[in-house]
Symmetry: C3
Subunit: 141 residues, 3 copies
């Protein structure tokens, strides 16, 4: 059986109603993996804007509150960022995105996301109220 490389790219768009918002996107990622036809390979999920993060963790609302409070402690919303000289007010959002990371790479095995029992994929918006994009790219064979 010949195995030729396959690539499949999709994009999700978001427009959060407020500054911060957390989206659970595991189902969308699974759909793109199935659409790709890839049986073995990697699936990149990446925020394409620089004030949002992609991370994998538990889908538990208490934990999500803890993550939010922790981010505000380590990279607080505030007026005193040098970046604000450009007219922006989202210095904190850049730091939050750097802290959590803009992307994850998910293994694809036997045509499915190869995730642990509690692993779920989230898009975390830190500077919403504008259209923003996430890339999902699956490469393999």
């Amino acid at each position: 059986m010949e195995r030729l490389p396959i690539s499949h790219t999709d994009y999700l768009w978001f427009n959060a109603p407020r500054r911060k918002h957390l989206y659970h996107i595991t189902d969308e990622v699974r759909r793109v993996v199935r659409d790709s036809g890839v049986r073995e390979g990697f699936c990149l999920v990446g925020a394409m804007h620089i004030t949002a993060a992609i991370w994998v963790n538990d889908n538990e609302s208490g934990l999500h509150q803890d993550i939010d409070a922790w981010l505000e402690q380590l990279a607080p919303l505030g007026p005193d960022y040098h970046h604000h000289r450009t007219g922006e007010d989202n210095g904190d959002a850049h730091l939050k995105a750097l802290l959590l990371g803009r992307q994850v790479l998910l293994p694809v095995t036997d045509g499915e996301l190869d995730l642990g029992p509690w692993e779920q994929v989230f898009y975390h918006e830190f500077d919403g109220r504008r259209r923003k994009r996430v890339i999902i790219k699956v490469c393999g064979f």
Copy 2:
């Protein structure tokens, strides 16, 4: 010479004797890369549970003490996480995992891990005393 894509997936299991434990896993990762037959590609090493991290840095015990102290400062063990309403006591472990990251992607060149002189791979457990898994997936040709 025909070059067809190759994928090889292996899993490591851990059951740490205590809450926190650091495992040096570079040799295991090298073994999986050799088993894969991949000459050129990428090797994903990822924690499949959400309270552990994979990172690459120096194998030096003083540095490991510094990392532990630093994590306790930025994401301390404690009773006051909302996540604990579920009955868990590992809120800190989730934050530590998010801080350090759940995965690394290692380049494979000429059939070997293409690492810098001091780069070593570690599995960092933050909530042990249960069976937990790490995926090592090598894709290339």
Copy 3:
């Protein structure tokens, strides 16, 4: 049309004139992607030394000042690291690298980096005044 897998690996060398230095390397990464001949795939950009980071964010000098101040707050330069018993003085640089991460994986679509409008790639040196290396590896077809 047959599509066979391609891999292309390049290395950048740096020797920063001082302890900390930020290099904007998007153009070098684009060049390596074009040299690779890859139309669809992934481009790994990774620091090969353990006291430097690779990250993607805005090319804005005020933001870069904010990132520097933030790193000094969360992982300060100082004399009190256990790691310094080895004779090194760069404990902070290891922590800064762990915080921001040693690598990014960039999607390659239609032969080009598939980046968002403000995404730029940076090499962030935290322990300069020595020769250090970055790997750029493009795999796809």
